[in-house]
Amino acid sequence: MNTPHPELDTLAELAEHGDHIEPASSPALANARAHVASCPTCSAEVAALRNVTQTLRSLPEIPMPDDVAARLESALRTATDAVAGGASVSVLPDRSGSSSHFSSSRPSGSSSSGSGGGPGRRVPHFSAAAAVTLLVIVALGAGIGVLVSHGGGGGAKSASTAAGAMATDKTTVLTSGANYSQSAIRNQIAALVLSDVPQASSRYDGLQTLAGAAVTAANGSQPAAIAQPTTSASSTYGTNTSATAPSSAPSAPLPLSTTAPTAPGGPLASSAALKACIVALVQRPVTPILVDYALYEGRPATIIVLPDPDVPNVLDVYVEDYTADCVTKGDVTFFGTLPTTSP
């Protein structure tokens, strides 16, 4: 045996079709087969590869669990029903008539989802001098079932439950690298929740329609909104180098961050600060289900997803100045709501 060991692909081919190879039709494989016949090492490798395929092909069927089947059938029915109506979205503030890129007040009772905010809850207000990094807070509506809360702040969570807020069991913390844009933030957040929060598809089924781009199974692509900075943000702000806060014009260029955060940062990088911020915002402790340290309109941002303490089945969206800690400095600069159930 003087010939070199065949390549792995060749051995795999021999393992699969070695008994049926005609030398005339495939001289290379025939030569490899001759090598294997005289090489104990390659012969063993072919046997191992053949064993793998035989083992895999003899695997038993895996029946779909009944609860999964029921869930999927329910989702198909819901999707069928949702095609006509679609998921309504209410995001505040309405920037169409705003004199500032972010500033707006939360119109009382204007949310189509009915999320008017609880007593004392803050309304969006832009603090231009502090606008370097933004915090986006998304509050998921209550009413999605009682979930077990574990982790810190047991006393606070008890108070939250007593107040009717829905605590979730875990927080998914990400540095997704996403660049949330004004125009797409609702879709981006819905997609992020569905893709990264465990069991989100069943818990927050209503986000499916809103996510839209997240459902890309048919063509194999992934949502650009999550994977990388959005086109709109890049085209609007990509060439700007100003270090000042946003101007009053909605289309005014914003300072563009060179990179998205790769680790939690800013005053809200710690869990304790986040919890205090949430209490300041919604007047009670609520455990977020997702935190994402990313970009908003090209600038470092933090996204927090938590159950809305007042309104079932609704996402509340807040944007907070980065330099604020929600307690001693800063205020909400963006707020919106997203439904988590299909209409």
């Binding site: 051995l11 893709s195 598809s201 199974a217």
Partner: protein
């Protein structure tokens, strides 16, 4: 197959292509019937590709809704089941790639609720040695192995499903099998004890790994 409503009876008797036509024609039971026919196969593919029942269910839901909404894009040049498998596998790969691109991180000062572990399949759900072995494969190799070696699809069909050349599928399968060989060696009936020229693992690569892009 699960029990179905009486008004599903007619749909149940039709073939998949006819069911898809009925779905496009507005029959609300038709697509559900397609799902029921193939659900176990689709579940097996999703579970073995994602190695995680939660991800499998989420990916399957994404895929089914997408397929239902885009059924008019089915050209009829493949079986409906193949079309569904393609959508399901790509949904699984999308989900796994997103998770790879967006790894979770820990917060400091953490009396916070715990972050979510992404690759805890072995701790949570490993039921068989094969499942555990599949979990160690790169996702593209795993998908190719699942479709070709487990589901029995021809290499050419899998290449179409995953939109890569046939040679890429062959290579992914070969490399995947080489990685699985030592992990499944104890299941052999003809063990030799010889580690083989590659020691049961891949040889050094001399070309870029287009399958691990």
């Amino acid at each position: 197959m699960t029990p179905s409503a009486p008004d599903d009876a007619t749909a149940r008797d039709a073939d998949d292509a006819e069911l898809l036509r009925r779905h496009l024609g507005g029959d609300p039971a038709a697509f559900t019937e397609i799902f029921r026919r193939h659900r176990d196969h689709l579940w097996a593919v999703a579970l073995r590709t994602t190695c995680n029942p939660e991800d499998a269910a989420d990916a399957l839901q994404d895929a089914l809704i997408s397929a239902m909404r885009h059924a008019d894009g089915f050209r009829g040049d493949a079986r409906v089941s193949t079309w569904l498998h393609r959508i399901v596998v790509n949904a699984c790969l999308d989900r796994l790639r997103r998770q790879t691109a967006h790894p979770t991180v820990e917060l400091p000062d953490d009396d916070h609720a715990p972050t979510v572990a992404r690759d805890a399949y072995a701790d949570r759900e490993v039921a068989t040695d094969v499942a555990a072995a599949l979990a160690v494969l790169p996702i593209e190799q795993r998908a190719a192995i699942v479709l070709v070696d487990i589901e029995g699809y021809p290499v050419s069909e899998v290449a179409t499903m995953l939109d890569v050349p046939e040679g890429t599928i062959k290579s992914r399968c070969a490399r995947g099998r080489a990685k699985l060989a030592p992990l499944l060696g104890h299941l052999r009936t003809d063990q030799t004890g010889n580690p083989g020229p590659f020691g049961g693992v891949e040889p050094p690569m001399t070309q870029p790994r287009e399958d691990l892009r």
